[in-house]
């Protein structure tokens, strides 16, 4: 462990698809920012392509997506595929929303690192990122 000041983790919080439920995404974005991370919030109604492009342009360490519309299987898979196609698989993908257990298992096996169900405290998400995401810089 070095004592040099650590670069802050850069996080993109994305809202893919047509889903307008942004309460969770915004609360998480603010909590991560308050925890000292650099947070970029995409706003609503992004396509997977827009999100992956922003993530690469912003050179983020991880990418969190919030989906409450039931479209998680399609949207997470597309984002993973686009990251793979663009050699950006080092960007860690996590997420939250209304995602049944079975689907969560399937998504994790595809490469989503963690999914936070409703009721997760913001501290749990902060702790998880601190433990699992190392800033690239």
């Amino acid at each position: 462990m070095s004592n040099s000041p650590k670069a802050p983790v850069r996080v993109l919080i994305g809202k893919p698809g047509l889903d307008g439920h942004d309460r969770g995404a915004k609360v998480v974005a603010r909590a991560l920012r308050d925890a000292g991370m650099e947070v970029i919030y995409t706003g609503l109604h992004q396509t997977p392509k827009m999100i992956v492009t922003s993530a690469i342009q912003e050179d983020v360490d991880c990418l969190g997506m919030s989906i409450l519309s039931g479209a998680h299987m399609t949207l997470f898979s597309e984002v993973l595929k686009l990251l793979h196609d663009q050699d950006a698989e080092d960007i860690i993908v996590f997420g939250g929303g209304i995602i049944p257990d079975e689907d969560a298992k399937a998504l994790k096996s595809q490469g989503v690192k963690e999914l936070f169900p409703p009721g997760t405290s913001t501290q749990e998400i902060v702790t998880w990122i601190e433990k699992n995401v190392k800033p690239k810089r």
Binding site: L18, G20, V27, Y41, A71, L75, Q123
Partner: protein, 554 residues
């Protein structure tokens, strides 16, 4: 011991001194879910200038604090209306018939995200979303299947749809025309409240000003041709779910209502020609008395606004009629069967608050769309309140409670000060354009989350009383992924089979109505009857009125 019975405080202050009720409390703060400190009690000598005759009156009389009907639920129970929709129109039609067979008294339709955002099932942006969060509606054929074998003059139908409400409403009327129904016999409600979309629910096509114009087209059309149909449901539900406090929910909802009334009046519609069919929709959350007080305050405030600000003369114009839904956001994914208890208590608050119709959430809604079994428990919860508890026999049973009356006045005055701020910003349309309510919600929802994370607000099963080890699961509903393929193929085939000449002239008629600032409804009804789809009309809205993008405020 004998002396204790002689001890009698003369005032609230004496009582505080004698008993020190704030000492030795089990926690430091006793706040409502809306951050309002709960009083330890309210005494008879704290009611100050409270004047029951002007603040309450009698049930069924101005200012309607005690309810809009003299005998409330003795005449007719509230409408039990469960929101339903998923998959193809056939799937939802089957769920509707299941609900009606189980004693439900009105229908309420949930549409999927593509329908709600103005994309047909075959659009690239619809991928993964068709039929998932509600039923997919692209064409009049879908509307026909959705209500197959349901007599629309016998049930009232609610449709939760907003930026594409003009299209859904047009399809409903076109279907009614095909079936030969008299429009005057059609009863129901279309949500059609665009202001709260920009504040909370975030389903939009065009910017706020033209969106409000379209909302008012429906209000105007219904008031002229379908007088039993509520052309708008001014909705606080989404505002609350997105993080507002009870007072913010009340204030922003009424301010939205005032903005629509203002717009209609400016169009030249006499206030009493449309105000009797305005309806409202509120959330009913966890803090029991706060919720009861909110409904009572809402009625009193609306009555006064309509009478004093808009000079309404008809009693019905002053009456706030409301639907309520239990708070989806209060349900937990952890220990999901506990949600049955939460829903029952929230539903009881709605009934004690005097609502006209109610949706009770199903226990599994934080996991997926509800199963039939979970929906049935939710519906039965309402039936138990109605039939077994006796609460529906007495009008406004909490009226006169020192606490409830004080709280009603308090929420009213908090909401009034928000409305003053909004008035100063130029009314709600302008406040929304400036992002005022959006920022207020972001602040309140973040504050609430911090309180939960710091254990200041306890949620059973989430930050307290957690289960050890694995929890018992409950069955969940899943939507067949094939639905999307079927629905996409159907709309593609439908578009090919249309009379292309009629399509072209219908699109032109709708575009002209939009460009010439006419009421779009007459042209739309003919257009959807000729096969114009939800996505095609929405494209015209995009072209003529422009596209709104999320400012992404944190």
């Amino acid at each position: 011991m004998g002396n204790d019975s002689e001890k009698k405080s003369k005032t609230r202050t004496d009582w505080d001194k004698a008993h020190k009720p704030l000492d030795r409390q089990r926690k430091e703060h006793f706040d409502s879910i809306s951050f309002r400190p709960h009083p330890v009690m309210v005494a008879h000598d704290e009611m100050g200038a409270f004047n029951p005759s002007s603040e309450l009156g009698y049930p069924g009389e101005y200012p309607f604090t005690r309810g809009i009907h003299p005998n409330l639920y003795r005449g007719k129970l509230w409408t039990m209306r469960q929101f339903a929709g998923f998959g193809t129109p056939e799937d939802t039609n089957a769920r509707f018939r299941f609900l009606l067979a189980n004693g439900q008294t009105g229908l309420s339709t949930a549409f999927d995200m593509p329908t709600l955002m103005g994309y047909d099932a075959d659009h690239a942006l619809s991928k993964g979303e068709v039929g998932r969060e509600g039923v997919s509606l692209c064409t009049i054929e879908d509307m026909e299947i959705l209500f197959r074998e349901i007599d629309l003059t016998q049930v009232t139908v609610s449709m939760t749809i907003n930026c594409t409400a003009p299209v859904a409403m047009a399809m409903y009327f076109a279907l009614a025309r095909r079936r030969g129904y008299d429009f005057a016999k059609l009863g129901g409600t279309i949500q059609n409240d665009m202001l709260k979309e920009f504040i909370a629910q975030k389903e939009w096509i065009s910017p706020p000003a033209p969106s409000v114009k379209l909302s008012c087209d429906i209000i105007e059309y219904c008031s002229q041709f379908a007088p039993r149909f509520h052309g708008i449901s001014i909705s606080g539900y989404h505002i609350r779910e997105a993080g507002a406090t009870a007072a913010q929910e009340l204030a922003f909802t009424l301010a939205d209502g005032l903005a629509y009334v203002q717009h209609c009046v400016e169009r030249g519609m006499p206030v009493d020609s449309f105000a009797p069919r305005l309806s409202f929709f509120f959330d009913v959350h966890n803090d029991f008395f706060e919720e009861v007080a909110k409904f009572r305050a809402a009625r009193r405030m609306w009555a006064r606004f309509m009478k004093e600000r808009f000079d309404a003369k008809e009693i019905k114009s002053m009456q706030l009629r409301t639907h309520a839904q239990t708070a989806g956001v209060s349900l937990t994914a952890q220990q999901p069967t506990n949600n049955v208890a939460r829903v029952a208590l929230q539903a009881l608050a709605a009934v004690l608050g005097g609502v006209q119709s109610l949706h009770t959430n199903s226990m599994d809604e934080t996991l997926s769309l509800p199963t039939e079994q979970a929906v049935k428990v939710a519906l039965r919860t309402q039936q138990i309140i109605a039939e077994e508890t006796g609460v529906a026999d007495v009008v406004d049973p909490l009226g006169g409670s020192y606490y409830v009356e004080q709280l009603t006045s308090q929420i009213e005055s908090e909401a009034l000060s928000y409305i003053e701020k909004i008035d100063a910003l130029g009314g709600m349309l302008s406040a929304v354009e400036q992002g005022y309510p959006q920022k207020e919600l972001a602040e309140a929802s973040y504050e609430f989350q911090k309180r939960v994370d710091n254990d200041l607000y306890r949620i059973v099963g989430v930050n307290s009383y957690k289960d050890v080890g694995d929890e018992d699961g409950i069955p969940t509903h899943s939507v067949d992924l094939e639905v999307e393929n079927r629905q996409r193929a159907r709309v593609v085939d439908f578009k090919k089979a249309r009379d292309q000449k009629a399509v072209a002239s219908s699109l032109e008629a709708v575009r002209n109505a939009c460009q010439n600032n006419e009421n779009v409804m007459p042209a739309l009804i003919d257009a959807v009857d000729n096969g114009i789809t939800v996505g095609e009309v929405s494209d015209i809205f995009r072209e003529v009125f422009g596209v709104y993008r999320d400012p992404g405020l944190l």
